[in-house]
Subunit: 204 residues, 2 copies
């Protein structure tokens, strides 16, 4: 069953909440989730229909089993191997971001063109020369790359990376990439996200 993207996003947030409740509370209601996220409680119940878990009238949803069901449903325990392209500030921060591991996102290696960075290790992830990506993509069967290079190199690097066999690019740069049709790009547009957040409030 394919779950709508927005539902996936909310399910991960319910999981964050469950993480905090586990151990201290046995049940949680849709209203509790709804209040945390400022959404309608029936929305929550509809979302939870996607994971195979039913609530109890007058009581709510069982914390532990719901948490486990979301994990199964979204594959948190399934390892998703990725490369990080660009061992700069953001790339390094993401390499050190432990929450990725908790959700199955496994950084296999990093790539850069800076000789001072190549050969070093960041949080246990080795930094390779970008020209090695072709060889390593094939050898390790990695299909996903996180792109964190400076804007001015983003297009060039993305094209290079696409040629190596990478099929999914999670793009953290402010460059909109032009890549072959068989490569899927997901723009993590932080600027846009901030503006969505603040745009309709004039006192920022």
């Amino acid at each position: 069953m394919t779950i709508p993207e927005k539902v996936i996003n909310r399910l991960t947030m319910y999981h964050f909440i469950l993480e905090d409740m586990e151990g201290s509370e046995k049940y949680v209601s849709s209203t509790k989730f709804a209040n945390f996220l400022n959404i309608d409680n029936s929305q929550v119940r509809k979302d939870l229909k996607y994971v195979d878990n039913q609530g109890k009238c007058r009581v709510g949803f069982e914390v532990e089993s719901l948490k486990r069901k979301i994990e199964e449903c979204l594959g948190f325990k399934k390892t998703k191997d990725v490369f990080i392209i660009g061992a700069g500030n953001l790339g390094s921060a993401l390499a050190k971001y432990d929450s990725f591991n908790d959700y199955g996102l496994n950084v296999i290696a990093m790539f850069d063109k800076d000789l001072k960075k190549i050969g070093t290790t960041i949080n246990g992830k080795k930094v390779f020369d970008i020209v090695k990506i072709n060889e390593l993509t094939g050898k390790m069967g990695v299909k996903t790359a996180i792109l964190t290079v400076p804007r001015e190199f983003a297009q060039e690097v993305a094209s290079y990376v696409a040629k190596s066999g990478i099929k999914y690019i999670w793009n953290f740069t402010t460059c909109i990439l032009d890549v072959p049709k068989d490569v899927k790009v997901w723009n993590e547009n932080l600027i846009g996200s901030f503006l969505q957040f603040t745009q309709n409030d004039n006192d920022i």
Copy 2:
């Protein structure tokens, strides 16, 4: 006029594209934007209706004027002051992220509780003791904080920050925050974003 959030996000991406075209091309068509972002071209034209800029039949939209209009419309030139709470990997990376400046996002100062970090300077931004935030929020009139502390401290720090007068929290942690009603939280859920990207592709 309030612009829907999704439109705001796409407008910033059109701007990214225009940034690359400026100087080399005079006109751009809705189809060109649409192809870059894999969306329908009439969607692009409807988005562009929100900024006061009309296209020319058979030619498209003028690159320079459209770029300028988007900037005006979304307030890229208007300074938006923010604090970064948490001078760890992600906080430091965001403090060094120059694209923020280009879009008017101005990091005024950083806060942490680690004595080794307090007093240092990251990309020109001074790191203060978190207990100073109350004083500085008032003095500098800052209303927005970027939260990048470790998950286990997120709720505690968010409550503290909210008490200082901060009204907007851009939350990069994997903790869903419980804050007073007059504080608006925007969850930058990277885990959820990644799963939205990859969930319906089974070969990751």
